[in-house]
Symmetry: D3
């Protein structure tokens, strides 16, 4: 089965640099897939891709070296199974607040006996290879988002879930849930303390933890603190910031 | 009729900062439309948008302040008419090498008696307004690409075409046609001399000239030399460069 | 944040005239958006739009003055969050039969502490404005459909739900649930009595009530009875009826 | 081969009532296809459908009794052949100004020896039937738009073109070309006189003539004058007018 | 209401030969629809079609004689209702493991009083006919997949569910659930014994049973054993096997 | 630059086994791309793919080992340039009847000085590699269809065109043009004699010749006669024939 780069980096103790796709288009995906990320996540929750776009984006990403991940809108087995069948190599699931929910997530991502995933890897076996059935359970990643006060309270039980491959922190929802204002790359002590709690629990359990970041600098800092998976903004934020800066350079030059 | 920002800037003697869209997607267009460009050009020649994508992108751009332009694949009246009917406020046409071709371009963009455009502004009148019929000929821009050795030889006759609103230089095709290697933001003297020849002819004729650039710095320099319309790279180049730089920042930080 | 016209009309005690979109196409949406409705609802339950169509339709509606609403297929947080992130200004949710379900609906539409909506308004902040986070909870509408016998029995508890912005009656499902035959613009006394019960409860609670109608005459009558939101048929019914009438005019004229 | 209703009505000396599709969507097409039109024309010139939309719309129309026609953007053999291969039962071609152009149109619509159409009726044979090769030339309609001053001057030669099945008048382009203001359902004497000239020439040649109309009343009048094919507005105009009228009914009622 | 061929064959005691669609495209659907199957199932679980594709595929299938069925990703009322409204004539639902789940499935497929399906058959009434409301409950099929050890244990209770129209066995998931290796056209005794148990229960209850097969030979054998609905592979498997065989014929011939 | 398998096989004197894509869908393309063909041709003439579909299909084919070719609707530079920019590795152009047309075809496929292709390989450089500019002219194939009586008369001049990479015979159009009935895998002596004339001219000029076939047996025979490129039917024909055979097996078995 084709290797999962995220898994390999984690096995070697390293940190994954992940791109984030909000634009629902296969060419934008192919372009991002060629930028040098270790993995790229197609976001079906807050991004604008729906399942059909995602199939085409997964095809486009298959022409590049990145490992394709997908974030689902909610903990629902239908969309998880369909994305895996389409060739996603990992599911990031929002709002996993209890160990029971985490166990459900794992079960939706794995074939029996580890889980209840239905068999029919129509495109996944094309992408993954002929031994997909034998290796899928160990290769496909189930990643739970720990991003609420309730989840923080349950974090030790969550990370102890058998079969869980990683956790991912959404700082905006975490802040909202803690009564704080959402802010990317936050230094709000209430939020950063919760992050530290989550990270410590993950470390104790030997489960890699990831974080959604905005800047490369903050990403770097968080890797140094122990996070092993960082996403830098997303395609539209990167594009917007760079375009605005270039326009400003011209306008400022003309004004001078 | 809704104002054409490109035309207004030109009437005031200013320079247009234009964005370039290669990604065939309406959300990417909406994002680019909000970045601060004066105009944005959907590219149906070397970009990946086809007509249906372009309709949706024009709708998305209509939610933003930018003036929407479109580049057609060739000098062909069908696609020109359809894009104008869909709400494009200007046509950039490649490979206009003779004054006869330039006259054709103008005729395809204007209603009788100035041209032969067929009447049926199905979305254009929604976007432009109820006086579209009366004001379209003076508001919609016909922009000829002068980008071959033959066109340079004919440039004075081309820019003298009645009804022509502007010209646009494609440096890569110009270089190829002159036997030079295509290079964005070129300082190849053969190419830059041809550009200067084109610009001088345009200035003599009172026709604004534009240039496809890569960097904001080169764009600024060319505006100072007299170009009144610059495109900075395109959406995928801006995205790629920015993403690569951010990834490099993280990887370099980790390596240190 | 951009104003919600539905909310404003309700605050002024008026009645909203709402268009209904079943055709999954952005141009049809743009055309309907320009007809003069106060709001337009994209129907993902009985209409044929899916999420991707809806994103493009929301973009198209953003070029018009109407306030865009969406009806979801079921009470499910994933699609509610995604539609709000795409720029919908209100959720109409079918089959809200209990106060518990109504509280869930509200919670899916509001950020903490009022609800559990996940943060990431990717297009909504473009459409709504930079103060989206601060104003979304008070601007975005949660509208529960009261359309079953069970819901009628629970109507006082349903309309008492904190954060509920309005209710909407689907007369066909209401009739079916009451053992009557579905009929638009019905005068079936069993159904109209249930409607009156619902309206009275809503009035007592100060919650605006809406109704799906077929004809403008019935819509007008129901507004006079106290409904503050009426939908007149939908795009395909209006188109079909008008086209059939025009064809009949020609055929009848030829037959005479 | 499946019958062409337009042809049959013409053979019986009758008049065709044709619907016009500007919305690029297969469900809108299916709805229009069920309204009672004899034929429906998908417009690829001033409508927003591109080839891919049209394929799906032709599939949708195949579920209804109407005969599907298509209007092409220009006299270009590629799009004509592709639409016929997709199952269109007739081509309406704009701006046929000379008998030479008319002969080209016919040749693009017919297999050798009558024309040069390339063989490969991939969906057309599914729709038309197994004898498509034998009967296509006699069943598929080539309809030339006579809509310019030049075409009026050439009208006798145009209608004499062997293999031509019908002509169609676009009143807006005709008016523009004659130096008059485009107006649907016009009574401008310059334009109506030109229409009469065209109709008379067609009658002499035994070629049915059609006209693009707005109202059923005007359509009826023109059939009485001898036109044998009328299009009533289009889907978006019919929808817009009907929706506006219904909204006005409610608002006027509320104002009273 | 248009007849349901599956139902009719079952009423006559016959067996349905069903095609299976994994390619999300309306032309592929139209081609498959013309091959001679009794019914064709669009697969939204392991196939790649999403709702929008399915609408277009259902339109395409409506041009052919086959009865269109759909398989949903999970037991969820939203997608079931939408597919029925789009014109599906039967729902195949995976992982129905308990009689309670089976009753839910039936209720999502039927209008009150038999179920809770919401009324709005926007395309279904076009396809089915004007008496859709009266005949839908008896014409639309609810088919439960019995494909886990738990379901086998509950099979008598499942098949006793009032309103259930048929059951369908997925041999891969059944094998996985029984601790065996998934294999199409299996002769694994553990799996075939479970199949026999299911079939016997269905026979006792008078509920037709179906099976997903790979080869026509195995399909034939299973019909002879009593199954009354067989699916032969799917579009991509049939295409792949046939293409590979043809390529091999050429390559082998060249090698000889 | 990524190797062109067709070119390599030709350089080694071998014959290419080519698949043909009529279904406009990226998953069908990916499936066909994995079947073992040397190359696959997306057909924009008689197939149903338009440009946008083709971009996604080219992405899908890039995940497989096949070399992607495209057939254009007509000899038109716009679509040729766009397909090459999207990553097509060769253009098959219908109805090349004269050496002048053949020279145009070559010029549209090559950069100056060999041709007039415009520079902007937006996806082609991603697929082909960073040396695309230097190697495209020698790697991308220009293939002319010789398929009319006129072309047969001109065949020696056509195959002598500098830069021409191959020719391709469409037997149906050839038959029609010769006054014969189109028939795949024909043994009509008029048509086979014309094929032999074409093949002989190609051999003399050292230009590989291809043929559109139906069966593998006929393909093999034609390779033995000297053709170096055969297409076996297309995706829909292969699928249809195989599905019909499997259905017949079951129905025949049941009838026995």
């Amino acid at each position: 089965m084709r290797e999962n780069a995220v898994q390999k980096i984690w096995q070697e103790g390293g940190a994954v640099v992940n791109g984030w796709l909000a634009i629902p288009n296969s060419f934008a995906a192919e372009v991002m897939g060629g930028c040098g990320w270790d993995s790229v996540t197609i976001d079906l929750q807050h991004g604008l891709s729906d399942f059909s776009d995602t199939v085409q984006m997964l095809q486009a990403l298959s022409t590049t070296p990145v490992t394709p991940l997908t974030r689902v809108p909610t903990l629902e087995p239908g969309i998880i199974g369909r994305l895996l069948d389409a060739g996603s190599y990992g599911i990031i699931c929002p709002m996993v607040n209890t160990p029971e929910q985490c166990a459900q997530l794992v079960s939706y991502c794995k074939y029996a006996p580890e889980g209840v995933r239905s068999f029919g890897p129509i495109r996944a076996a094309i992408y993954g290879g002929p031994d997909y059935l034998d290796k899928a359970n160990e290769t496909i990643l189930a990643i739970a988002m720990v991003e609420t006060a309730e989840a923080v309270a349950n974090v030790d039980a969550i990370v102890a879930t058998p079969g869980l491959d990683g956790i991912y922190v959404g700082p905006s929802d975490l802040a909202l849930s803690l009564g704080e204002r959402p802010q990317m790359d936050t230094d709000n002590p209430v939020v950063t303390e919760a992050m530290a709690t989550i990270l410590a629990a993950a470390k104790r359990a030997g489960v890699p933890a990831g974080l959604h970041c905005l800047s490369p600098e903050y990403s770097l800092q968080k890797i140094r603190e122990g996070f092993q998976f960082v996403s830098i903004a997303n395609d539209t934020r990167i594009l917007t910031a760079a375009a605005q800066e270039q326009i400003a350079t011209v306008r400022q030059g003309l004004a001078d």
